[in-house]
């Protein structure tokens, strides 16, 4: 995890600012020639103190605060929190509510994976795939908007259930949209598995073996692409996953190509599950009552976000406000892995490898190369991206 500074090496600091697409982080890669010999990460440029803020808000207000931790996977945060609070209050949301939660979880996974597919393709210089996947992603965004009224922060959950219902008209629209996306996904799969130029940037690049992924405690698609069958939806099913089990998707390769294949196969799995949930949607109530004061206790709520295991620790003190809320997002785990396995890899591969773990803030636009005579040269993230593309031309 350490970037050791020595006069013979170059340090390449990347980040933290990015004005548009994603979120800021700062990395320093120590390089010898083209090869990376050390890496560190520094976060906090968008640190908002949300864990502290939860201690000043009541249990209901916190649902809306925590949903805003992430704009891409907002629903999964609200789900993890709602399930945790329900466990503390010893209530269970009705089956229909759990099924709707799960349905939105999978729709969110589709939008997140398609967003990632576009970003990762763009970092490698494959802008056609980027534009196709983002165009097609609008289909699922429209479905989410049709269900909840919002494109992000859908606010589907309430403590004790959900606040939206799925009627037959919406179900038909979802089925139609999903079938269109399934057809498009065939095309993506074909591109990422057969296009020689694409494979040149992904096959055997950034390989993380099973043992490495295991030792570094990787989570989510990053772990599954290295053959680790770790998925909270199957390991510790929550919401409606006990009734609608998923098949855990794994690949053995461990390289970037495997990370593409795992996520695209997870899209198919999400399509299948959405059809199944719509076909067998339980009937009944949408929510149940949760008391304002939560009895003193503590609980752990784990869910599978699009990027991997999301971990919530909740401690109540008998009042209307929590004593402590701890959130560990999957990107933190995956940062730890990439900072370790980056050592020995090529700088030109870093844009795609960084994008390959689907970090929730892969972003960085300013880069300074410092050489031993202290002359520095400023690069942008775009420069690094172009450098990577030219390197493989």
């Amino acid at each position: 995890m350490e970037a050791k500074v020595s006069p013979q090496k170059f340090i390449v600091p990347i980040g933290p600012q990015h004005p548009a697409l994603k979120e800021p982080g700062h990395f320093e890669f120590t390089v010898e020639g083209e090869v990376i010999t050390g890496a560190t990460v520094r976060l906090g440029y968008v640190h908002r103190g949300i864990e502290k803020s939860t201690e000043d808000r009541n249990w209901t207000q916190n649902l809306y605060l925590l949903e805003r931790i992430c704009g891409i996977c907002s629903h999964i945060h609200a789900t993890a929190y709602a399930l945790g609070v329900e466990a503390l209050a010893d209530v269970t949301a009705p089956p229909r509510a759990q099924a709707i939660r799960t349905l939105v979880c999978e729709l969110e996974r589709i939008h997140s994976h398609m967003l990632w597919l576009g970003v990762a393709a763009h970092e490698g210089g494959f802008d056609t795939l980027f534009m196709y996947s983002w165009r097609d992603r609008e289909t699922v965004m429209d479905l989410l908007e049709g269900l909840s009224g919002n494109r992000v922060n859908y606010s589907v959950n309430v403590l004790g259930g959900v606040k939206i219902d799925v009627d037959e008209k919406q179900a038909t629209a979802i089925r139609k949209g999903i079938d269109f996306l399934k057809e498009r996904t065939e095309h993506y799969m074909k591109v990422v598995t057969t296009d020689e130029t694409f494979l040149g940037r992904t096959r055997d690049v950034g390989t993380m073996t099973y043992d490495q992924a295991d030792a570094l405690a990787a989570v989510g698609p990053t772990a599954r692409a290295s053959g680790i069958a770790r998925d909270i939806r199957a390991d510790a099913p929550y919401a409606a996953y006990p009734q609608f089990p998923i098949n855990v998707i794994t690949e053995k390769g461990g390289d970037l190509a495997a990370r593409f294949i795992v996520r695209i196969n997870e899209l198919y799995e999400a399509y299948r599950l959405i059809h199944e949930i719509l076909d067998k949607m339980p009937t009944g109530e949408l929510n149940t009552r949760v008391p304002r004061r939560i009895p003193e206790n503590e609980t752990i709520s784990r869910v599978e976000a699009p990027r991997g295991e999301l971990f919530y620790y909740l401690k109540s003190n008998g009042s209307e406000k929590p004593e402590r809320v701890k959130v560990r997002t999957p990107s933190i785990c995956n940062w730890a892995t990439v900072m370790n396995f980056a050592i020995g890899l090529k700088l030109a591969d870093m844009p795609m490898i960084l994008a390959g773990i689907d970090p929730c803030f892969s972003c960085s636009d300013r880069m300074v190369i410092i050489n031993r005579s202290n002359q520095s040269q400023v690069w942008s993230w775009e420069d690094l991206r172009q450098y990577g593309i030219k390197h493989y031309r």
Binding site: M1, E2, T40, V41, R42, L43, G44, H47, G49, E51, K52, E55, D214, L216, A217, D235, A236, N297, E298, T299, I300, R302, E309, F311, Y313, K315, R324, K326, R328, I332, C333, W335, A336, T337, N340
Partner: protein, 174 residues
Amino acid sequence: MDITEALQTAQDLLNQWTSGMNTPDLSRLDVLVAPKDLKPALRILQKAHWGYLSAITGIDHPPVPASPDGKQPAKEGSLEMLYHFCEGAAITTLRVSVPYTLPVIPSICEILPYATLYEREANELFGVTFRGAPNTDHFVLPDDWPDGIYPLRKSFTGFDKPQQSPTDRGLPSP
């Protein structure tokens, strides 16, 4: 391994390093560990390949003054670090408690290198020192965050006066 079996294995492994255990619910095992026993306990879990470190949660227990009638003695402030290990649905939590007066816990990065991000976070937010940690740089707080102020302690309720603007810190105005 099903949950009960996994938790039983963890219980057997950690028996000699703990001062108390309980199972708050069906999928969880809480193990009280003294700071000096943390590393040996971790090594045992790692050797048996029991789960992975999923998170480190910090909890602040502020000091409680003695009750006026003298029935409740004063309680010293302490910090508790929860090391959550997950194996399938089973969760084993090693609970390490240290007093405000000596908030030092051995770093576990030697055994689990990926723990460094969690330790850096707990270090700056709670003021726990991880002895032997490879990196103690700021992780989420700003570079100019004042020393000795730990925002996730209950005693922190914000700054009295507004923080300096970017211009005051010598940065160009927007």
